[in-house]
Symmetry: C2
């Protein structure tokens, strides 16, 4: 269980922009140099960040990237989700929600007392309904973990991280 370079580098890039903006947009090459991440790879991280409305860009000489909003109005969860996608700890791949929890085989206890709950899927995304998921006891756990992660992500702003950085 880890966070991909996409998420890690991407956050560093946004932090870099936040810390190094001085009236002028910050160029990719400057970020690349400071963060020791190849420009080509950084480019790919900028696209989703831009799409998510976290950064804005301008082209041409003196161009580069700036934050779309003040750091205190950018929640870290936005950045994370833009890069890594919605939180989805347990794997829920099926598109057909109605078939959920019909197969009691997936549940680790037997007998009629065992009513598979339908919300064991911990995905944040509505699109991915569950027919193969980790049910019941384990599903509960993944959900709790996911909520804990979301809580951290959504209770910090970019400004908080900038403070940690320059302190």
């Amino acid at each position: 269980m880890n966070i991909s370079t996409k998420g890690r580098y991407g956050l560093r890039a946004v932090l870099d922009i936040a810390c190094n903006y001085q009236g002028k947009p910050v160029t990719l090459s400057a970020i690349s140099l400071r963060q020791q991440i190849s420009e080509g790879y950084l480019e790919q991280l900028m696209a989703p960040l831009k799409k998510a409305g976290i950064i804005v860009s301008s082209r041409g000489a003196q161009g580069g990237y700036s934050l779309a909003r003040d750091p205190q109005h950018i929640v870290v969860g936005e950045i994370f989700r833009a890069l890594e996608g919605p939180l989805n700890l347990a794997v829920c791949t099926s598109e057909d929600e109605t078939t959920s929890c019909k197969k009691k085989d997936y549940c680790s206890s037997e007998g009629e007392a065992n009513a598979c709950r339908n919300k064991d899927c911990s995905s944040e995304s509505e699109a991915t309904a569950c027919s193969k998921k980790d049910y019941c006891g384990s599903g509960y756990l993944w959900e709790e973990i996911q909520k804990a992660i979301a809580e951290v992500l959504d209770s910090h702003t970019l400004a908080d991280l900038v403070n940690k950085e320059t302190r």
Copy 2:
């Protein structure tokens, strides 16, 4: 960011044993059938669980797996870590701790005010010291997330999950 089948299947397997133990050890084939996980793959999950002292096994006819302790004395974090390894959200690969944070390039802010803190690495494992890590602002975030995950893992016992299951 997700949890591998190793962790998910493994937890389900342990839950299965907890729920279906009735005086006799639970066989792999029974777990396989109920959980719809191949026996071959399950076998590989049993090894670390056994090594971690979570389950015990007996061979031969009527053999199988049982819990090594009562479910209320098995913390979920033990199971998780046995299967997925120590929590290690940010990647810290170097073995040489003294080189940490010497390269200011990794930090996303410039200037002398920027003292890279040495503990940004969020790894639970002592063995993996950091020379390439996500520093400062971002390192702080990964650490907070990791602590939140550990809190959930370490505040639930297997008995808690069994209750969720059979309710």
